[in-house]
Amino acid sequence: MAETMLKLEGIHKRFGELEVLRGVDLEVAKGEVVCVLGPSGSGKSTLLRCINLLEPPERGEIFLEGKDICKGPNSGTGESSWELDFVRQRVGIVFQQFNLFPHKTVLDNVTMAPEEVLGRPREEARAKATALLKRVGLADKLEQYPERLSGGQQQRVAIARALAMDPRAMLFDEVTSALDPELVKEVLDVMRELAGEGMTMIVVTHEIGFAHEVADRVVFMDQGVIVEQGSPAEVLDNPREERTRRFLGLVLDR
């Protein structure tokens, strides 16, 4: 197996009484595309948000490129031991609701973090952003404000914005769930291309077809644990677990 990019050990997370993650172990190799499936409330989005420490796990450890970025707060180390800068400059995330900055143009959405966080000169940041936006098919939208764009276009800007930080890995949190059906493909195409270029990706999705085609590995989660995982053919075509079968039955029947 290739070099490990990301390794999760015994991740626990609760919101008040609700235990959302109950001991998740996951190892992701460099260049691997992992699709995470599961019913809503299974903890898959929370898992992504734990990885980049938007929701730090309570227990468990996360290693990024071998570096321990977060021992859970309950392991006795404080917030100061979290490697926020390290993880966020290496792992990009794209959200279901896009979350573009509405007061900035498309171009400025993409250049803001490279300029403000990495200190890149304006011209360099603009050149890179322009190239990225061209790559996601939005070369003609640079000076538009996000509200003028369709959902699919906004989501592609969000992908370009995350890529502008030169991430080693990308997290996708149900990025097509808020889109009209006819706009889903243009976003999936960008992700497909990204996967083809060898980007390490963890994709939380309901797009079974996409998972089948693009994923190196499919992970099925339910009630805060990983129920089963394997190649798309194993998990999607011949699931071993009853819960996986039931879920796939529900999703595919629709």
């Binding site: 980049n52 966020r88 979350n99 900055f101 509405p102 007061h103 914005r161 995350a162 930080m165």
Partner: protein, 239 residues
């Protein structure tokens, strides 16, 4: 009837005292602008202090909230009187602070500025807070996930959108109503208590009418023009 007209609308009387009232009116306008700029800035500082994250800033947040609550509760008039009578008596302060006459303005001007800034800063902090809270949570998350720290995320993402929302919230009312407070009323009262004629007060009121009616219309037009951009949470261009 003629008594009423004499008491409130004595044109000759108005003419006699026009210069005095106009001077008070002009001073009020200046006071308003200085205090408005200062309370906008002070309110933003308070709102940002209130938003500081983490356990370490708990005392700062607590003190800020206490300040905002206390000075919204104390009536402005009492605060003005406290300042105007209290500060000159603080002997340990140098004279230039006790009886400030900066930029050729009399000391009541600066006591008024201080009182207005203290009070309206507290109010503005709440308005900014409403603006900040109106910015969706996802904006902060997006900024943080791109590696920005809290300060940068506030500065580049949250505050610009919050200010757009604040302008939309305030519309034309809050700032304009601040004007109708001070000097001109006081000048009018002085003249009335000396002469028992209210026409000077009426004159002051008319001056405000002349100023504020066009301002209100102008504000409406600016708001209409910027509506689209405000909806996006963008900066307002007051030009």
């Amino acid at each position: 009837m003629s008594e009423v007209i004499h008491q409130f609308f004595d044109v000759g009387f108005m003419g006699e005292h026009f210069d005095e009232v106009l001077e008070g009116f002009w001073l009020t306008i200046q006071l308003f602008f200085v205090a408005a700029v200062l309370s906008l800035a002070w309110g933003l500082i308070l709102a940002l202090l209130r938003q500081l994250p983490g356990r370490g800033f708990l005392p700062v947040r607590f003190l800020t909230i206490a300040y905002i609550d206390v000075f919204r509760a104390i009536p402005l008039l009492i605060l003005i009187l406290l300042i105007a009578t209290g500060i000159p008596s603080l002997d340990f302060l140098p004279e230039s602070l006790r009886i400030p006459e900066w930029f050729g303005k009399p000391d009541p001007f600066w006591y008024g500025t201080l009182a207005l800034t203290i009070t309206y800063g507290a109010y503005m902090a709440e308005v900014y807070r409403a603006g900040i809270e109106a910015v969706p949570q996802g904006q902060m998350e997006a900024a943080r996930s791109l590696g920005m720290n809290h300060r940068k995320a506030m500065r580049h993402v949250i505050v610009p959108q919050a200010i757009g929302k604040v302008f939309a919230l305030m519309k034309d009312t809050t700032l304009v109503s601040v004007i109708a407070l001070n000097e001109v009323v006081l000048v009018g009262q002085d003249i009335q208590s000396e002469t028992f004629n209210s026409s000077a007060l009426t004159l002051g009121g008319l001056m405000f009418l002349v100023l504020i009616l066009p301002m209100a219309r102008l504000t409406d037009r600016l708001i209409a023009r910027n509506q689209g951009r405000i909806a996006r949470g963008a900066h307002i261009e007051v030009a």
